[in-house]
């Protein structure tokens, strides 16, 4: 299982690692690229200056050293100063021109390959003074270069007397211009240097990126490890291991978060422990109650069972006595009839010991029969509580239809109307559920209002995993003072009713419903009717 990534619409769907890489990478680029560019441009400027100065110096030197050669028009005099220059690497060419801008001697690339002279070279030459050097940017052989020009002056007096140190550059002191020197400096090195710098920078950049990637990885690990620990811990706690503690000591918000998680887990554990304790207490209470109930039920069973034994004697011998009293009375009558009338032995009118004995025995027998009926009722109730249940899905519609069909004769005799509404299925022991509704309907029939025809409406609905069945009647209704007690065994609202029974019907209903982990209650208005609510389990359950 992975923690779900939260992504807001429109946001870049990247993980924090990618974001970390992107941000640190762009930061690096932002710092590195201008640095490299600045380095390159500085370097180029420095080199340009360097070439500029070199060219300037070389062309001036050549101009000075060529004066004799140009003046004497002897090429051999030019050989040495030209050669001195062209052994330099960056020098492309060196040339010396006469006063009419005619090439006297060139070495290096040579006359053919040198770029053509600028058109205004003669004007420039004659206007120039000793300090002026002309620089032009040219391209030769496909490479950029500088072309330097410097005028050659005729030195007044001896060349050897000329004090170069005192040269102020004023043409007036110099005399006329007899030609000019030309030197080409290659800028190829400039590009080479730039390329070299770029290569080095690139290499550096690669190393830099590798090192920063490593650093980012380290940072990312240091960030993600506690987060992963946190996530794993949260999963573990979430999976129910409330004793798990997240061990993160980063001294930052992650540690705070981990502490909060740990706190939450310990609070949860406390709550769960408390609940477990409560549940245990509740369970032990429930099992106590259950044990007490079982004890009570077995007590009821044993008592009713054992009480029947003496009752058999009372009933049996009372009947024998009854028979004997009849026999005795008959014998006495026979003796009396055979004797002369004697007031001493003849009973006074109305004073018949036989009939009084009969009456006494009659009361004993009636009392015994009553006890017998009560004990039977007790046994039935106790048995209902202990009967094993076969819980299955029960089609309440069919069940009620069967019950109504079984009681059809009785119902039509009192012209009762029964309406069956929607009756959802529930789970329970079909035999016991049959008893619930049979008892309820018998009860409704028994307490109907004789002033109006009985109407029974039976329906059901689902509510919170339970099916609630309603049995509504328009009978006599139940007075509020009876409401609490109608579910008690042997309680009868009107004991004087000829067929009031033992008062067990509703007690058995309550028992069965409770055995089904359901509830039963009644709402009633005296003179209007009652509604019995029976709540039963919708789904399978185990006892």
């Amino acid at each position: 299982m992975r923690l779900k990534k939260s992504s807001t619409p429109g946001a870049i769907p990247w993980g924090y690692r990618q974001r970390l890489f992107a941000s640190i990478g762009s930061l690096l680029l932002m710092a590195f690229v201008p640095l490299v560019l600045y380095g390159i441009s500085t370097d180029r400027n420095l080199l340009r200056d360097h070439f500029d100065r070199t060219g300037d110096y070389l062309v001036k030197n050549l101009a000075r050293n060529s004066e004799t050669g140009v003046f004497s028009e002897s090429v051999s005099f030019l050989q040495a100063p030209l050669a001195a220059i062209t052994d330099k690497q960056e020098v492309l060419w060196a040339a010396v021109y006469g006063s009419d801008a005619a090439l006297i001697r060139a070495i290096g690339l040579g006359a053919e390959k040198m770029p053509p002279l600028p058109q205004d070279i003669q004007q420039w030459m004659h206007a120039a003074d000793s300090a002026s050097v002309r620089r032009m940017t040219v391209s030769a052989e496909g490479a950029a270069g500088f072309d330097f020009f410097a005028p050659i002056f005729l030195v007044q007096g001896s060349f050897f007397e000329y004090d170069f140190e005192q040269d102020t550059g004023s043409s007036a002191e110099r005399g006329e211009v007899i030609g000019f020197a030309r030197v080409g400096i290659s800028l190829a090195m400039l590009n080479e240097r730039t390329n070299e710098i770029l290569r080095t920078s690139l290499l550096l950049a690669v190393i830099y990126v590798l090192v920063s990637c490593f650093a980012v990885l380290l940072i990312q690990r240091s960030i993600s490890k506690p987060i992963q620990k946190l996530a794993a811990g949260a999963l573990k706690i979430g999976a129910g291991d409330l004793t798990w503690r997240i061990n993160v000591h980063t001294r930052d918000e992650i540690e705070d978060l981990a502490e909060s998680f740990n706190h939450m887990a310990s609070q949860l554990q406390q709550a769960v422990d408390e609940r477990l304790l409560n549940e245990q207490q509740r369970e032990s209470l429930l099992s106590d109650i259950e044990n007490k109930n079982k004890e009570l039920e077995s007590l009821v069973y044993v008592v009713s069972h054992d009480l029947r034994s003496p009752l058999v004697n009372i009933q049996g011998f009372s009947q024998i006595l009854q028979q004997q009293v009849i026999d005795c009375a008959a014998a006495v009558d026979t003796i009396r009839s055979g004797m002369p009338h004697d007031p001493a032995i003849s009973a006074a009118p109305g004073d018949d010991p036989g009939s009084e004995m009969q009456q006494s025995i009659g009361f004993i027998l009636a009392g015994a029969a009553k006890i017998d009926a009560l004990l039977n009722g007790l046994l039935i109730v106790s048995r209902t509580g202990r009967a094993p249940m076969n819980i299955r899905e029960v089609d309440a519609g069919r069940l009620l239809a069967d019950i109504i069909a079984a009681q059809q004769f009785q119902l039509s005799e009192i012209s009762a109307t029964v309406t069956l509404g929607e009756l959802p299925c529930c789970h329970g022991d079909e035999h016991l559920l049959n008893q619930i509704f049979s008892n309820l309907i018998s009860n409704v029939v028994k307490y109907r209002d004789p002033q109006r025809p009985l109407v029974i409406e039976i329906s059901g609905r689902e509510q919170g995993g339970m099916i609630i069945y309603l049995v509504r009647d328009n009978g006599q209704g139940i007075a509020p003072r009876h409401l609490d007690r109608i579910w008690n065994a042997f309680y009868r609202v009107d004991a004087g009713l000829p067929d009031s029974g033992e008062g067990l019907g509703l007690a058995i209903v309550k028992r069965i419903v409770e055995k089904h982990q359901g509830r039963v209650r009644v709402e009633s208005t005296l003179g209007r009717g009652s509604v019995f609510y029976v709540e039963l389990q919708k789904n399978m359950f185990y006892v």
Binding site: S304, H305, D306, R308, S309, P310, L311, V312, N313, Q315, G316, F317, Q319, I320, Q323, A368, A369, D372, L379, R383
Partner: protein
């Protein structure tokens, strides 16, 4: 009831009243067979095992025919235990046994039939019902004879 006359009736019942009612009901139903009374399960089991008991005055004879009417709830040894022993014994396993009880608890009834009792009777409330029941028993026994 010619055949039934030779039948020896054994009554195992701890309650004197019930025992008296049973023997009277037998008489009332027309049985004049002598009944032997035992007050607990142990006593009846000793008799069936052939032990001499001066209080009973008779010895169990396997060649004779017996009918045992036995209460379930008895001190020392209950009817269920005696029934188990009878059905496990090679000589006694054919003995006619009718279990008597005060209630018709279905589980108890099932238990007795599983152990192999020949009939099960709930002690009726009232002597007349008792006598009536034994009259039916007489016909039942005749049916068994044939």
């Amino acid at each position: 009831m010619g055949d039934a006359k030779e039948l020896q009736i054994l009554v195992a019942e701890d309650d004197d009243g019930h025992a008296t009612l049973i023997s009277r009901a037998f008489k009332d139903a027309g049985f004049n067979n002598r009944t032997l009374r035992f007050v607990n399960g142990e006593q009846v089991w000793r008799f069936l095992s052939g032990e001499v008991n001066p209080a009973v005055g008779e010895i169990f004879d396997p060649r004779k025919r017996y009918l045992l009417l036995m209460d379930i709830n008895m001190p020392r040894m209950d009817g269920i235990e005696v029934l188990k022993r009878i059905r496990a014994d090679a000589v006694l396993k054919g003995l006619l046994v009718i279990m008597l009880t005060t209630t018709d608890d279905p589980r108890e009834v099932q238990k007795c039939y599983n152990l192999g009792c020949n009939a099960y009777m709930t002690k009726p409330s009232g002597f007349s019902a008792f006598a009536q029941a034994f009259k039916h028993l007489g016909s039942f026994l005749q049916v068994i004879e044939i």
